[in-house]
Amino acid sequence: MRRSEDMPLDPDMLAELEAIDATLAGEAVDPEYAELAELALLLSSERELPSSEFVRTLDARAARRFSQGAPAAPRRLGRLGRFHITGPVVGTALAGAFADHGWDFLRFADAEPLPSPSQSQPRQPRNPCQDDAFQPFHQRVQWVRCRPE
C-alpha cells in the first residue's frame, strides 16, 4: 500500500496551491481564486520585518565574523617576487641609517629602554563581542551590553 504522503496531490488542491504561488509571485490568478489570493496577500503582509537597529547590529557582527574567518585572497607574488620588493626597501633603509649615524646605528646600548610592564599602557580588556560576533544575541543581557556605541 502506498503511503498517503507519496500520493499525488488532488487536482483541486494543486490548483489552489498554484494560485497561492502565483499570487505571491505577483502574477494574476483566475477570478475563481480571488478570495484565496486576497488571503495570501493578507498573510504575506503580516510578515514582520526586523527593526533597523537590530539589522544594523547584526550586519556589523556578521561583517566582523566573516572578516575574522574568511581566508585571505591568494597572494599574487611568489617568494621570489616578495624578495624583489622587500630586498631593495630594506637595503635603502639600512643605507639611510648608516648615512645618518655611521656604525652607531647598530648599537643598542644607548637606546631608550623598553618601558617596564608597569609603565606601559594598561592592557585593553578583552571585548567579548569581537570574538563571538553572533554569540551574545541569545542572552538578552549580553545583547544589550554588546550593542555598538
Binding site: L43, R47, P71, F137, W143
Partner: protein
C-alpha cells in the same frame, strides 16, 4: 572533510551571501513562530551563529543552503519554545500587534479582514502557524518547505493546503 584554500574561501562567500539573502526571511519566520520581538532577534542571531559554526557540515546533496539554514533556524526556534514551556512566566511576554492607524471608511473592510487573519493566526496550532510562516513570511517554495519539515513535497502541499483552509474558515467566520 578538509577544504582547500579556494574551497574554504568559496564556502565563506556562499555563507555571506546566504546571510544577506535570508536575514529578513529567517527573522520573519522566527517571529511568526515566537510572536515576540526580542526572542525572535535572539533566535535569528543564534541561527546564524550555528550556521557559521556548522558551515563545514553542510551537505549540498541533501538540499540547498537555504533549506539547511531554515532547518537550523527551526531547531533554534523550537528550543526557544521548549524553554518557554519550561518557564511559563515567559509566555505572558507576548507582544500585541501594533495598532493600525485610523483608517478611512473604504479601508475598513481590509482592516477587518486583517484583524481576522491575525486573530486566526494566533489561534492556530504551532505546527500550522509554522507552515504559514515558512510559506508566506519566509517565502519558501513547497519543495523547500518539505525539506525543512522533513516530509515529501506532496505531503507538504497537503498539510499547507489544510492549514490555509483552516485559516480561511476562521477568517470567514469572523468577518
Amino acid at each position: 572533510m578538509v577544504l582547500n584554500r579556494s574551497e574554504e574561501r568559496e564556502s565563506w562567500e556562499r555563507l555571506e551571501e546566504l546571510y544577506r539573502s535570508s536575514r529578513d526571511d529567517v527573522y520573519a519566520y522566527v517571529f511568526t513562530l515566537l510572536r515576540h520581538r526580542a526572542a525572535a532577534e535572539d533566535v535569528t542571531a543564534l541561527a546564524f551563529e550555528r550556521a557559521y559554526r556548522r558551515r563545514r557540515t553542510f551537505d549540498r546533496q541533501r538540499g540547498d543552503e537555504r533549506q539547511w539554514l531554515f532547518g537550523i533556524a527551526r531547531n533554534a526556534a523550537l528550543d526557544e519554545l521548549r524553554r518557554r514551556g519550561r518557564d511559563a512566566s515567559l509566555v505572558v511576554d507576548l507582544e500585541a500587534p501594533e495598532q493600525e492607524p485610523t483608517a478611512t471608511e473604504d479601508e475598513d473592510d481590509v482592516l477587518l479582514r486583517r484583524t481576522a487573519v491575525r486573530a486566526a493566526l494566533a489561534e492556530m496550532s504551532a505546527r500550522d502557524r509554522e507552515l504559514i510562516a515558512l510559506k508566506f513570511h519566509a517565502g519558501l517554495s513547497n519543495s523547500e518547505l518539505a525539506e525543512v519539515l522533513g516530509v515529501s513535497e506532496s505531503n507538504a502541499g497537503t498539510i499547507l493546503y489544510r492549514a490555509v483552509q483552516k485559516l480561511r474558515r476562521a477568517v470567514n467566520a469572523t468577518v
